[in-house]
Symmetry: C2
Subunit: 315 residues, 2 copies
């Protein structure tokens, strides 16, 4: 057992390691290299859906049930970085605190955005760390269903899309990106009026899309706050995970995940180089003068440079 492996078992040290990875502090790549090789055992469940769907309550309830089975559970909550949505999330985290004293449960949040507006690889890397730490389940909860969140849940094994009655119109908006990646549909707060209507809407939309053949996403009704429908949900989650393992799909998913990770890391690496100034400062100064005098245009220059970049340097 390496030092890192031992540290990953210590909650306080795990937190420090995750922060180091999230903030891209010195030495984080070395840690991630080892974590990646240790990873691949956790069952990673993505929980997404519009704000107000009750994802945190559902997550909290799932933790409870999985803990009863003796499983170690980590939660990674993906928070959007907009400075105008901090409050709600904090509230959600606090609601989860009833688990926070249980050492077999680890709850952590991560931002979704990179410094330059690019997709931040940190979330995906934090999953790798939690996986290496040996949690049986990693629940990845996203707060919105923006592209960032979709990209993160795309890297989980089983994706729950949590909806609530009364968002009817949004189903159409949802159809676009997220419907396709959902493995299980959860109609939460199903004691509300309109839940059957919503179930029918979802099933109708599903009946239209021929995309998923081997797995037909079930549509479940839950009332997370009252613990209703959670056993059925856990049953379906396990059913889907077994389905993935019984087919070649799990390996496929993991390959795609690695491919996404590599692309994101490449983008981050290049982003950093660009943020730190793609050109020698003297050269850049000259260019900016030329732009100002309209002797050159940035579009032609960017084309030149991108053309000159070679991305196939693997021996």
């Amino acid at each position: 057992m390496s030092i890192l492996q031992r540290d990953l078992k210590d909650t306080r040290k795990l937190s420090r390691i995750l922060s180091l990875v999230e903030n891209r502090q010195k030495g984080y790549t070395e840690i991630l290299k080892e974590c990646f090789l240790l990873s691949g055992k956790s069952k990673v469940v993505g929980i997404t859906g519009p704000p107000g769907a009750g994802k945190s309550t559902l997550t909290s309830t799932l933790i409870g049930h999985l803990r009863k089975e003796g499983a170690c559970v980590a939660v990674l909550a993906i928070d959007p970085s907009s400075s105008f949505s901090g409050g709600a999330i904090l509230g959600d985290r606090i609601r989860m605190l009833n688990h926070s004293l249980d050492t077999k449960v680890y709850i952590r949040s991560a931002a979704t955005r990179g410094a330059m507006g690019g997709l931040c690889p940190a979330a995906s890397d934090m999953i790798t760390v939690l996986d290496a730490a040996g949690f049986d389940y990693i629940l990845v909860e996203t707060v919105g269903v923006g592209q960032d969140e979709i990209d993160v849940v795309r890297e989980t094994d089983t994706v729950l899309l949590v909806l609530v009655p009364g968002l009817g119109d949004d189903i159409q908006a949802l159809k676009a990106g997220i419907m396709e990646i959902a493995d299980i549909f959860v109609v939460n707060k199903s004691d509300r009026e309109g839940s059957n209507k919503l179930v029918n809407e979802i099933e109708y939309i599903l009946s239209l899309s021929q995309s998923k053949k081997e797995w037909n996403p079930p549509v479940l009704k839950t009332v997370a706050s009252k613990n209703e429908g959670i056993n059925e949900l856990i049953f379906e989650i396990k059913k889907h995970l077994n389905f993935l393992e019984s087919t070649s799909l799990l390996a496929e998913k993991r390959k795609t995940r690695a491919a996404l990770k590599l692309r994101r890391l490449l983008l981050e690496g290049l982003e950093n180089r660009i943020r730190n100034g793609p050109l020698k400062s003297e050269e850049e100064r000259k260019l900016m003068e030329a732009f100002l005098r309209k002797e050159k245009d940035p579009y032609s220059v960017a084309e030149e440079i991108v053309e000159s970049v070679i991305l196939e340097e693997l021996q």
Copy 2:
């Protein structure tokens, strides 16, 4: 006058050109190259602030006043890409429609996000197109104050930060990114209770930051819906624009803008290459297998590749 220049004067063709640029359709770089060389005459005013601050009403009122002076005005509304905020924006656009029959006013919206989650250069390029089209003023209105929006307004000449009483706590959140880039603070809906308190808060925070010396951002009170304080606002906007021209700051701003543009274009170009698969498919397939078998890790591979990239190829 080139064909493009003539087309830019035709609202319908202008819309088509903007869509072509926004969607990165075939030939868009050629258009942008010419537009960049034609650009640099418009006064570009950024209007940002939290949702509900009344930015659209304010923008609409500004249009009215500027039109009275006979100025041609273009509005570029930056919409966040989250699938859960379409409604509000549509509403804002509709509120602006009272100008939409005026051919000297052009209103257009643009998304802020690139396909891979990266910053989308389209917004900044659309400003270049509108500039080339010869509008006297380009009002760039953002819907939120996320990083994307901050990056876009950073590319305007004069930045208005619009706030409303009753967001007190958020001032602290705002301080982080946006306070620094605001040239004029607008306390809108100032007939509401707490507007003086807000003005004082802003002035207090400004008194702490020594960053801006040559220009001390004024704090104005408006009630856009009642047309109150708009003359003063226009006066301050012009005062700031004159200040920029009278100093070397305008040239500096434009240089920085060109530098940002170049970096963003580089990022976009590299992003596309990465999205389309950074490696030969055969090579990638092998890599993914190696990742799956834990023979290699994506972190080391990404490092290798980024290292091998040369970004200084300008002859």
